[in-house]
């Protein structure tokens, strides 16, 4: 059912659920002035954070955000209202980011842009110290690049962008259990790559 326009203020947090999303989409599809603005204002900050966490580069994240909204505006009629609008937007953003990553050899570029320290021969035994040492963003980026695409995406959306597990699962079109398993696996792999897992590596 269509909501009255005054209930659709963007500053009214999008907690109002699917009905709110559908009303906003209906406003956009009617060509109502300011509807796209509201859509942007509601979803852009979180989407930008997600793009930034997945791409690790400010310019690329802004480009991805722009492309996401360009696509969303042109194809908003494809939103069927079965999930939250934010989930649909995350799905669009993920596809765009995936294309971006495919089209550019980002791995190589990151390797060139980020200075990676050579592995040290004498490793400190304290895992806390190891994490501190590896907090250098280049190391993190390097470790993230080694992850499988779906594991990295799930982990970064959940930990980096702060999305709930259910949101990540819906955006990635996967079950919650699978997503949880991916995040868990990614965490273990990252700790291992960063040499910070106290349960491995014969540290005891």
């Amino acid at each position: 059912m269509r909501q009255p326009a005054e209930h659709l203020r963007p500053d009214a947090e999008p907690a109002s659920g699917l009905a709110f999303d559908q009303a906003l989409v209906a406003r956009c599809l009617r060509g109502e002035v300011g509807a796209f603005d509201d859509l942007y204002r509601l979803h852009a900050p979180k989407l930008l954070r997600a793009c930034a966490s997945l791409l690790g580069d400010a310019s690329e994240a802004e480009d991805a955000l722009q492309l996401t909204f360009e696509y969303a505006c042109a194809h908003l009629d494809r939103f069927r209202g079965e999930s939250r609008l934010s989930t649909w937007l995350y799905g669009v953003a993920l596809r765009i980011i995936l294309n971006q990553r495919r089209s550019r050899s980002r791995r190589q570029r990151l390797r060139d842009a980020v200075s990676v320290e050579a592995p040290q021969k004498r490793r400190p035994t304290d895992p806390e110290q190891k994490i501190v040492r590896h907090q250098a963003l280049g190391e993190v980026a390097h470790a993230l690049e080694k992850l499988q695409d779906n594991k990295r995406t799930a982990f970064m959306l959940h930990v980096g962008a702060g999305l709930k597990l259910q949101e990540v699962a819906q955006a990635m079109n996967a079950s919650v259990q699978t997503t949880f398993a991916r995040i868990k696996s990614a965490r273990a792999a990252l700790l291992s790559t960063l040499d910070a897992d106290p349960t491995k590596g014969g540290q005891r």
Binding site: F36, A58, P127, Q135, L137, V140, I183, P198, T199
Partner: protein
């Protein structure tokens, strides 16, 4: 690692992800407190999360959301407009079936007929670089930059760019496009049906073939798009965008969403503040670095000559009149002409026919003669004969006096256009004094040209703004004598009236104002004329009875934002005449202008 440790870590991850917790939480919690390895794992995991958050933070720049929002603004507007247009039909109705069948058959038949035409329309046509001067570059679709040569073929997607002090002329089918210095265009489409040119920066002058009825030339600029057919015009990004038309008429579709504007011959569209206005164009257009002596002749009567020579830089003359150095491109009235090219003692001459609406290429050989080679003239002429087949050697010489007069006039017109162009350039740079000097020189040295009359108006306007009222008055008088019916005559007369008042020439001012009322009865400035007349009546004649209706006329044309001075004059007159309307008008004045310097006076007058 034992099983208890694994379960403890799984529990910790479930807590982080807000997942269902295991039943034996208490056992695991107790284990965590006692197991150093699990505690270390917990800390490492937390630090990893922190590092990932920092990794995300470093990819977020301040103001990014607003920046992207600004980039999306046109897209949002475009989509809103698209969606706001009613375009949806209700879903299928069986009753439509018969109608749909008929429509489908008709559409198929139309398509069969139309397809060949469509294919023909999409067929690419020739485009090439006709001439160039200075450093220019042609970037092909793929983006490779290449130094450029004449007669290089162009195709859709090419970007052509001129730098400082360089010009070039492109031939796109039978249309000619001249690029001024620092101009960048991209050929979007080059087909038999349509030529689309995207003007990215700078200025282009376009000489569209009037005979190409089937082809449309479209120029897309930042401020809008210009649709051209059979016209001579220029499109420029300078000063927020402008379009000047010398022949024909163009339609300009502005990007601000307003209705398409038509710009006719002798008019110019330019930006003033946030909107575009159409006004008379003072300068007839010329193709850059082309003498173009008689662009004011009907376009149907003009043909063009493309002259190249080997070696280049030969002085080229038509009918004894120097028109420039080769290679060159020149428009010329149709008819029989004699030409001559001279370079370092070598020359070639002949006669040919300029054909209206068509181009004629002339290639001359001016190399040093040698014993083994035949005479240069013979070589050039035979080359011309084979190439053009239009060379005529037996034509009678034109009447010298007619020729001399015509050529002198042509030369002066071209020269005057150049000076006006330079003066306008100074004006664009806000160097009014330099522009004024050029206009003054134009009126002195080339007084009989079309541009000279317009130059008088410009002198008047500039002198007025520079505070030289007497010179401005003289200049406007000159303009009105030279062009009493000119497009700027109304403006000139009004300015002259205003100057007469400011110089306290009230007799002349009265005559001038009454002439303005007589000659321009529907003019928008009549209210301002009324105000000037009211001032004269009140301050010179001290006749408030005469001034009042004039002030009413002026104020009626500006209901809410009327002039404060006029409103005060009305109250003053009512006070002088001791009119009963004084109180009402005075109160009105106080309401509209509560901060006026006349407030105290008016209050005193209307006090009981």
């Amino acid at each position: 690692m034992n099983t208890l440790c694994e379960r403890t870590q799984a529990w910790l991850e479930a807590v982080q992800s807000e997942q269902e917790l295991p039943a034996d939480v208490d056992t695991l919690q107790a284990h965590l407190q006692s197991c150093e390895r699990c505690q270390a794992w917990q800390q490492a995991s937390q630090r990893l999360d922190l590092a990932v958050e920092r990794y995300t933070e470093q990819a977020l720049r301040e103001g990014a959301v607003a920046r992207v929002r600004a980039r999306l603004e046109p897209e949002f507007r475009r989509q809103s407009e698209r969606l706001a247009t009613p375009q949806r039909l209700s879903w299928f109705d069986w009753r439509w079936l018969s109608g749909l069948g008929v429509a489908a058959a008709a559409a198929a038949a139309a398509l069969m007929l139309y397809l060949p035409m469509l294919r023909e329309g999409r067929e690419p046509v020739a485009g090439w670089v006709l001439l160039r001067e200075g450093q220019v570059a042609v970037r092909q679709g793929a983006g490779t930059s290449a130094a450029h040569q004449e007669e290089r073929m162009l195709s859709s997607g090419d970007t052509i760019e001129t730098s400082d002090h360089s010009d070039m002329v492109l031939a796109l089918a039978s249309d000619r496009v001249a690029l001024a210095g620092n101009t960048r265009v991209q050929l979007q489409k080059l087909t038999r049906r349509e030529v689309v040119l995207q003007l990215k920066s700078g200025t282009v002058v376009i000489d569209a073939d009037p005979k190409a009825h089937q082809r449309r030339l479209r120029i897309e600029a930042e401020f809008g798009e210009v649709v051209v057919q059979g016209t001579l015009l220029s499109v420029s990004h300078a000063q927020g965008g402008s379009v000047s038309v010398t022949h024909g008429q163009v339609e300009v579709r502005l990007h601000d969403g307003s209705r398409p504007m038509r710009v006719g011959a002798g008019e110019r569209l330019r930006r003033e503040g946030s909107r575009f206005i159409v006004e008379p164009a003072l300068t007839p257009l010329v193709m850059p670095w082309t003498p173009a002596p008689d662009v004011t002749a009907p376009v149907e009567a003009l043909g063009w000559l493309v002259v190249t020579s080997e070696p280049v830089a030969a002085q080229f003359e038509i009918n004894g009149q120097p028109v420039g150095l080769t290679p060159l491109y020149v428009r010329w009235p149709a008819g029989h002409v004699s030409y001559r090219a001279v370079l370092e003692g070598q020359s070639d001459s002949g006669e040919l026919e300029v054909i209206a609406g068509q181009g004629t290429h002339l290639t001359l050989q001016l190399s040093q003669p040698s014993a083994a080679e035949p005479d240069t003239h013979v070589t050039a002429r035979s080359a011309l004969s084979s190439r053009l087949g239009k060379l005529r050697t037996d034509a009678a010489a034109p009447d010298c006096r007619t020729l001399a007069e015509r050529n002198m006039r042509l030369n002066q017109t071209a020269q005057a256009s150049r000076w006006v162009e330079a003066a306008e350039c100074y004006l664009a740079e806000r160097q009014e004094r330099q522009a004024l000097k050029l206009y003054q020189r134009l009126t002195k040295e080339l007084p009989r040209t079309e541009s000279a009359a317009n130059a008088w108006f410009e002198i008047g306007r500039l002198s007025e703004s520079l505070g030289n009222a007497s010179e401005a008055r003289a200049a406007f008088s000159h303009y009105l004598r030279a062009r009493p019916e000119g497009t700027l005559a109304g403006d000139a007369l009004f300015r002259l009236c205003r100057l007469n008042v400011s110089e306290k020439r009230f007799g002349e001012a009265r005559r001038c104002l009454s002439q303005y009322r007589r000659d321009y009865p529907g003019a928008s400035r009549l209210s301002e004329v009324a105000l000037i007349e009211a001032k004269i009546a009140k301050e010179v004649d001290e006749d408030c009875r005469a001034a009042l209706p004039l002030l009413e006329q002026y104020l009626a044309s500006r209901p809410s934002q009327g002039s404060e001075e006029a409103a005060f004059m009305r109250v003053d007159c009512l006070h002088t005449l001791a009119s009963p309307a004084l109180r009402e008008r005075g109160a009105e004045f106080l309401t509209h202008y509560p901060h006026s310097k006349y407030v105290d006076k008016v209050r005193a007058w209307i006090a009981p």
